[in-house]
């Protein structure tokens, strides 16, 4: 291969690289940080409030989660969460409101396929894996930990 074409190839590759670098990772990450952080901020306001109302810290945490799921569900119903997801990416998906969003959005979308085989069957089409692997991971972790702690007679 003569050096001229090699240089041209390199130039071409740089050109391709310049054009394919259009996914602005930094912008995505900053937006995810801001949206995700804001959702957790709202969660903290709720947690601070429920901590004064509920008897234990655990109950306050559970109530906060349910409240955030309610917010995520409402935002999905009004079509707001779709927009939030487009802007925030992982920032909208990773908080528990995103879990609620996938459940509600699936229920809404598959309702037209019927209430049994549509809405109910497909409600957890995205959230299901989170439940399944969360339970499996929790099961293994707890099995090992409880054995090590000697909690099984």
């Amino acid at each position: 291969m003569d050096p001229k074409t090699k240089a041209e190839q390199k130039k071409y590759q740089e050109l391709v690289k310049g054009h394919s670098k259009k996914t602005p990772i930094l912008k995505h990450v900053v937006l995810a940080f801001l949206i995700g952080g804001s959702i957790c901020l709202i969660g903290q306001i709720a947690l601070n409030y429920f901590s004064t109302v509920e008897r234990t810290q655990g109950e306050a945490a559970a109530t906060t989660l349910a409240f955030m799921i309610f917010l995520g569900a409402m935002a999905t119903g009004f079509g707001v969460y779709d927009i939030l997801g487009e802007i925030g990416g992982a920032g909208a998906a990773i908080p528990i409101t995103g879990f609620a969003n996938t459940v509600v959005a699936s229920a809404m979308e598959f309702r037209r396929e019927g209430f049994l085989l549509g809405m109910a069957a497909k409600m957890f089409v995205i959230a299901g894996p989170v439940l399944v692997y969360g339970i499996l991971a929790g099961f293994l972790v707890t099995l090992i930990k409880a054995s090590l702690l000697g909690l099984f007679p």
Partner: protein, 116 residues
């Protein structure tokens, strides 16, 4: 102060998720499952609960907090019941959230129309 910490920690967890999404070929579903499993393991190692004590909603609200809650519910039930707790504990804490999601999703699917 708790608000600022929740914002920073929660934002950082989401930013890590976005970096994984943008730099690998994993789908959002993979990332959600990965964070859930990570939360359960960190809970087992005794790391996630002190983390929630420190960061509050910043650690609780991301889906890793959900995974952690599954594991801590199981351990609490094992302490109470023995091995049966492995099978009753998963929804000890998270049951409220899962039931809330099902109820709200059903009501909203009845009254709202999906966007195109």
């Amino acid at each position: 102060m708790s608000l600022l910490i929740a914002f920073l920690v929660g934002g950082t967890i989401c930013a890590i998720g976005q970096i994984v999404l943008d730099t690998t070929k994993l789908t959002p579903a993979h990332v959600l499952v990965g964070f859930t499993i990570t939360g359960a393991i960190l809970n087992g190692l005794g790391i996630y609960e002190p983390f929630i004590q420190f960061a509050g909603a910043g650690a609780l609200i991301p889906v890793s907090g959900f995974g952690s809650a599954i594991a801590s519910g199981m351990l609490a039930e094992v302490k109470r019941l023995g091995w049966e707790g492995l099978f009753t504990g998963a929804f000890e804490i998270t049951g409220l959230g899962v039931t809330a999601a099902v109820v709200f999703a059903s009501i909203i699917a009845l009254i709202a129309k999906p966007r195109k």
